[in-house]
Amino acid sequence: MTVVRARAVTKTFGTGRAARTVLRGADLDVAAGELVAVVGRSGSGKSTLLHVLAGLDRADSGTIEIAGGRVDGVRDAKLTALRARAIGFVFQFFHLVPELTGEENVLLPTRVGSPLTARGSANGSLRRAHELIDRLDLRDVARSLPHELSGGEQQRFAIARALVNDPPVVLADEPIGNLDPVSGAVVLSLLRGVADEGRAVAMVTHQPEAAAIADRVVRLEDGRLVG
C-alpha cells in the first residue's frame, strides 16, 4: 500500500534572475514497509524534497499525499495535525532540545497539541517512550542532557522521538551524515528495522552504505527523481 505519494512536485527558490528551481516535477511513491533512499549530489534538492513531503515547506505545484492526507493546498493547522499524526522526522544534526534530557526529548511529540486532546494517555506515551529507549539501548543515558551524549546516542534518541507517536511515515534527512561509521551502522540498522515493522521510510543520503540498506534507491537529478 502506498503511504507516500508525490506527483509533479516543483519548488523554486528566489525570484527573477536569482531564481533557482530545485524540484521540476518530482514523482515519488513509498509503500508501507518500504525503505527508499534518495541520493544525489549536494545542493540537488534532496532535503527540500523531504521538507515539502513533510509540509515543512510549501511546494510551488504538484500533489502530495501522506498516509491518506493531502499535504499540498491545505491550511497550516491541518498540516500541523498531519505531521503530529503521521510523520516522524530524523535530522542530520539531531535537533535535540539542549535543555531537555534524552528521555524528555523522546517524549516531546506527545506533549504538543491541546492537553485535553493529546493523543493517547500520558501513561501510554510514557510506556511507548520507555520501550523505544530500551529497544534502542539508551536506558543508561536516558537522563543525560544532549551535550553529555555521543553523536550516535543523540541520533538514536532522535529516532526514538520520531517513532514515539507511532507514525506510518518516517522521513530521514542524512541520518548518518554527522556520525562515525560504527554509530552510523547502528542507526542504519534501526531505520531498516523501522521499515520492516511496516512503516514507509524515505531517507535522503549521499553515503553508499546508507543506500545499500534501502529497498529502492532513487536519484535526484535536475529536479526529477530517477530510477
Binding site: 493547522a77 495535525a81 505531521r83 531537555l100 516531546l108 506527545t110 497539541g113 492537553p115
Partner: protein, 767 residues
C-alpha cells in the same frame, strides 16, 4: 535579525527614557513651582494682616524696623459681588493696591496703570474665561481687565474659595486712608524671625494681627495640595532610579549576547581597551536617539498635566529650564548605557578567549546551575523522569498551570537558559511591577487622604456646627456613638512668628477622637500638656519635655509642655493637640464644632438628618487633602499617565524577552512545529517563557515595593507622618491581572510571528 535586535534594544532604552522623561518633568515642574512663582511675582518676605487701620499709623510702625527695606499697603475687601465672562461670585476678594512693588506677577496683558482698570487672578480668568480686554463687574461698577496675574501668596481660584481681583487704590477714593494688609520686603530675609519679633513688639494696638512669612506661605500653599505633590515628586525620584536599573540591565544583556563576537575580535588581535571602547560606542550610538525620543515623549505626556496642577496652585512651571534637566538626563542615560555596555565587555575580556567563543553565558553545553538543574537521579533511574526532572523555575511554572503538558515548562527552561539575561529581565520587570504596585497603593492612599478621616487619625466621621451645649442632644441621635466639642485655632509659634500652626482642642475625656500614632513620648494628661505633630516638632525643634509657646490670634500667648510627638498628617504635621478648656482659659477664638463618632454600621445619612433637625449643617470629617474635584481630576490624570508609561515599559520588556528567546531558539521552535506543534502549542511554550520571568518578577516587585519603594516614597514625601503605602490584596490582584494581560498580549504577538516563519528556516540553523 540583527536589525530587529537593535530595534528591541533601542525600544528598552526608549521605554526607560519615557519613564525618566515623565518622572523628571513631574519632579522638576512640581518641586520648584512655588519658588519660581514667588521670585517672578516678587513675593514679599512678610505679609501682615490686621483690622483696618490708618496707613500712616502702620507705616510709622513698620518704618521703625531696621531690616525692612520696602513696604506697600493694600486694602482688601471681601464678600464683593463679581461678574464677568462665564462666572459670577458673591464672595469676591478685591485688593486695592498702590503703585510700586505689587507682590504678584503679570502672566498676560499688563499691570494696572490708570483708572477703570482691573487685573484678575489667573484662576479666575481660567474658570470664567476672561482675557485682557474683557470687562468685569465689581460691586456694580464695570472695569476693564488689563492683565491676568499669578499671585503665589495663595492657591488659585477655585481651589481658593474667593475669586481675587486687583484694582488701583486711586479708583476707590471713597475708602479713605485705611489699609488692612501690609507687604514688607526685607534687607536680609534670613533674619525674618528677628524682624517678626520686632514687628510684634511695635504692633501693640493693631487688632486681629496675623503675620506670615514667605516660608509660611510656602507651607500654606503646600497644605492645599496636601501630601499629594510631595508623593508625586518622591515617586518620580524612585521612577528615575528604576529607569536607571532598566537601562543598566538591558545594556548588560545586549553585551552578553555579543560575547561570541567579542571572542572573535580578541582572537584576531583586538586589545581589551579597543573592544571595550567599541562596545561603549555601540551602546551610546544606540542610546542617543532612543533616549532623546523617549525623554521628549515622556516630557510631552506629562507637561500638560503638570502645568494644570501648577496653575491650580498659582505656581509656575520650569519653562525652558526643563530642557536643561532633560538634556542632563539624556547625557546621563547615554553615559549609563555606554558604561553598562563597557563594564561587562571589560569583565568578559578577562575570560579566556576560548570561553568567549563558546558563547559566554550560553547554557547549552553547560550544566545549569544547581537551582535550575534537574533533580539528582539515582544511579539506575526508573523510567518516570519526564516530570520529575523539571528545573525549579519550570516546576513553578507547571504548578501555576503554565505547564500545558510540559510545553510551558520547556518554555520556562528556554527563557532561563540565558541566566544573565533572565536575571536582567526579572530585575527590570520586578522594578516596573514594583512601580505599578506602588502606583496603585499611591492612588488608594490619595483617595483615603481625601475621603477617609481615619487615615489622619480621626475616629469621628461627621462634624456639626453646633454649640458645645448640644453635645448631649447629638449623642441621643440613633447611630451616634459619641460626640465631643472640637475647637481648631489657627495660630503661630510665639518665638518664630513666621511658623503657622494649628491648635486642636478636645473636651476632657475625648482625646481619643483624634489620636494620630505616637512617634515619641506619651499621650497628654494634664491641662497644660500638648501632643505636637512631627512637622511642628521638626520646624520648632520640639521634643517631649520641651515648651511650646503659641501666639494666639487675640494677641495672647499660650504655653504648653510637650508630652508626646505624633505622626499627624493634617496641616503637614504643624499641629498641636491640647485640652479644649485650656484654649478657653486663654480666650483663644477658633472654629468650634461638635465632632460625631458613629456606631458601627450606622446610617450616615440618617445621622445627618438628625443633626439637621438640631439646626446643624453636618459635614464629613475632613481628611488631609483638598476636596476640589477638578484638582483631584488633574492628580488622577498625572497618575494615569505614569501608570500607562509603566505598563508600556512592562510590555516592551516582555516582548523583548520573548522575541529574543524565540529568535535564539528558532531551531527548537521549528523542531516543535516539525513534530506537530501548532500556534497554540507554540503559545504555550512562550507562555511558559513569559511566566518564567513574570512570576519571579512579580514576587520581586511586591517585595521591593513593600520593603523598599513604599517606605522610601512615604518617608521622602512625609517623614512627619506614618503613611502606609503597603499594597492590599486588591492592589496585588490588579497588578497581577495587568501583568498577566500584558504577558498574554506579548505571547500572542510573538506566537503569531513565529507561526508566520517557514519551519525550515529555523531548522537550517544549528541547534
Amino acid at each position: 535579525m540583527r536589525r530587529g535586535r537593535t530595534l528591541l534594544a533601542a525600544a528598552i532604552v526608549f521605554a526607560a527614557a519615557l519613564v525618566a522623561g515623565t518622572a523628571l518633568t513631574a519632579a522638576v515642574s512640581l518641586s520648584g513651582g512655588f519658588e519660581r512663582a514667588a521670585d517672578r511675582a516678587d513675593l514679599p518676605d512678610l505679609i501682615v494682616r490686621f483690622d483696618a487701620t490708618a496707613r500712616g499709623d502702620v507705616e510709622r510702625r513698620l518704618a521703625a524696623l531696621p531690616n525692612v527695606e520696602t513696604t506697600r499697603y493694600r486694602t482688601e475687601f471681601n464678600g464683593v459681588w463679581l461678574q464677568g465672562g462665564g462666572g459670577r461670585a458673591t464672595n469676591g476678594a478685591v485688593h486695592a493696591v498702590e503703585p510700586g512693588r505689587r507682590g504678584y506677577a503679570i502672566a498676560r496683558g499688563r499691570d494696572l496703570r490708570g483708572s477703570g482698570e482691573t487685573v484678575v487672578e489667573a484662576g479666575v480668568a481660567r474658570e470664567w474665561g476672561l482675557e485682557p480686554g474683557d470687562t468685569l463687574s465689581i460691586a456694580g461698577g464695570r472695569l476693564r481687565i488689563v492683565g491676568v496675574s499669578i499671585s503665589p501668596d495663595n492657591v488659585a481660584y477655585p481651589l481658593a474659595k474667593a475669586p481675587r481681583v486687583y484694582v488701583d487704590r486711586r479708583d476707590l477714593g471713597r475708602i479713605g486712608d485705611d489699609v488692612n494688609l501690609a507687604l514688607a520686603w526685607l534687607r536680609d530675609p534670613a533674619r525674618a524671625d528677628v524682624t517678626l519679633a520686632q514687628a510684634r513688639a511695635v504692633s501693640f494696638g493693631l487688632d486681629d494681627l496675623r503675620f506670615i512669612t514667605r516660608d509660611g506661605v510656602r507651607v500654606l500653599i503646600g497644605q492645599a495640595a496636601g501630601i499629594v505633590i510631595a508623593l508625586l515628586v518622591a515617586f518620580s525620584l524612585v521612577a528615575v532610579t528604576t529607569a536607571g536599573i532598566m537601562l543598566g540591565a538591558s545594556a548588560r544583556s545586549e553585551v552578553a549576547r555579543r560575547l561570541p563576537s567579542i571572542g572573535v575580535q580578541r582572537a584576531v588581535g583586538f586589545s581589551r581597551a579597543s573592544v571595550v571602547r567599541e562596545q561603549a560606542a555601540r551602546g551610546a550610538l544606540l542610546a542617543a536617539p532612543a533616549a532623546a525620543v523617549g525623554l521628549a515623549a515622556g516630557a510631552l505626556a506629562m507637561r500638560g498635566a503638570a502645568e494644570r496642577l501648577l496653575a491650580a496652585l498659582n505656581e509656575i512651571g520650569p519653562g525652558a529650564g526643563l530642557l536643561w534637566w532633560l538634556a542632563g538626563a539624556w547625557l546621563a542615560i547615554v553615559a549609563l548605557v555606554a558604561a553598562a555596555s563597557a563594564w561587562p565587555a571589560w569583565s568578559a575580556t578577562r575570560e579566556p578567549i576560548a570561553a568567549l567563543l563558546r558563547g559566554g553565558e550560553l547554557a547549552v553545553g553547560k550544566r545549569p546551575r544547581r537551582w535550575l538543574r534537574p533533580r539528582p537521579t539515582s544511579p539506575s533511574p526508573p523510567h518516570n523522569a519526564g516530570n520529575r526532572r523539571l528545573s525549579t523555575v519550570s516546576r513553578i511554572v507547571s504548578a501555576l498551570g503554565g505547564g500545558g503538558g510540559g510545553l510551558g515548562a520547556l518554555g520556562a527552561r528556554l527563557a532561563s537558559a540565558r541566566r544573565v539575561r533572565w536575571a536582567a529581565t526579572v530585575a527590570v520587570l520586578g522594578a516596573a511591577s514594583a512601580t505599578l504596585v506602588l502606583l496603585l497603593a499611591l492612588a488608594s492612599l490619595l483617595v483615603s487622604l481625601r475621603d477617609d478621616p481615619g487615615t489622619v487619625g480621626k475616629t469621628y466621621a461627621l462634624t456639626a456646627n453646633l454649640p458645645p451645649s448640644a453635645v448631649a442632644e447629638v449623642e441621643r441621635i440613633p447611630g451616634v456613638a459619641k460626640a465631643a466639642e472640637r475647637t481648631a485655632v489657627e495660630a503661630s509659634a510665639a518665638f518664630s512668628l513666621g511658623q503657622p500652626l494649628r491648635l486642636v482642642g478636645f473636651a476632657r475625656g475625648a482625646e481619643d477622637f483624634e489620636a494620630p500614632p505616637l512617634a515619641e513620648g506619651r499621650r497628654r494628661r494634664a491641662a497644660d500638656e500638648a501632643e505636637v505633630g512631627v512637622g511642628l516638632a521638626d520646624a520648632l525643634g520640639l521634643r517631649p519635655g520641651s515648651r511650646l509657646a503659641v501666639a494666639l490670634p487675640g494677641g495672647r500667648e499660650g504655653r504648653f509642655r510637650v508630652a508626646g510627638v505624633v505622626r499627624a498628617l493634617e496641616n503637614d504635621g504643624r499641629i498641636a493637640y491640647v485640652r479644649e478648656d485650656r484654649l478657653d482659659a486663654l480666650g483663644a477664638s477658633g472654629n468650634t464644632v461638635v465632632a460625631v463618632r458613629l456606631e458601627r454600621g450606622a446610617d450616615r445619612a440618617a445621622v445627618g438628618r438628625g443633626l439637621g433637625a438640631l439646626g446643624a449643617r453636618p459635614s464629613e470629617a475632613a481628611a488631609a487633602t483638598t476636596r476640589n474635584r477638578g484638582f483631584l481630576g488633574v492628580l488622577a490624570t498625572v497618575l494615569r499617565i505614569v501608570a500607562v508609561t509603566v505598563a508600556l515599559v512592562c510590555l516592551v520588556v516582555l516582548a523583548q524577552a520573548l522575541v529574543l528567546t524565540a529568535r535564539e531558539r528558532r531551531p527548537t521552535l521549528a523542531l516543535l512545529r516539525t513534530v506537530g506543534a501548532g500556534r497554540a502549542s507554540i503559545a504555550r511554550v512562550l507562555a511558559g517563557a513569559c511566566a518564567a520571568v513574570l512570576v519571579p518578577a512579580a514576587l520581586l516587585g511586591v517585595a521591593v515595593e513593600v520593603l523598599v519603594l513604599g517606605p522610601a516614597v512615604a518617608s521622602l514625601a512625609a517623614g512627619y507622618a506614618g503613611l502606609s503605602l503597603a499594597p492590599t490584596a486588591g492592589h496585588l490582584a490588579l497588578a497581577a491581572g495587568a501583568l498577566a494581560a500584558l504577558g498574554a498580549a506579548a505571547v500572542a504577538v510573538v506566537a503569531r510571528r513565529v507561526e508566520r516563519e517557514a519551519v525550515v528556516a529555523g531548522l537550517r540553523e544549528e541547534a
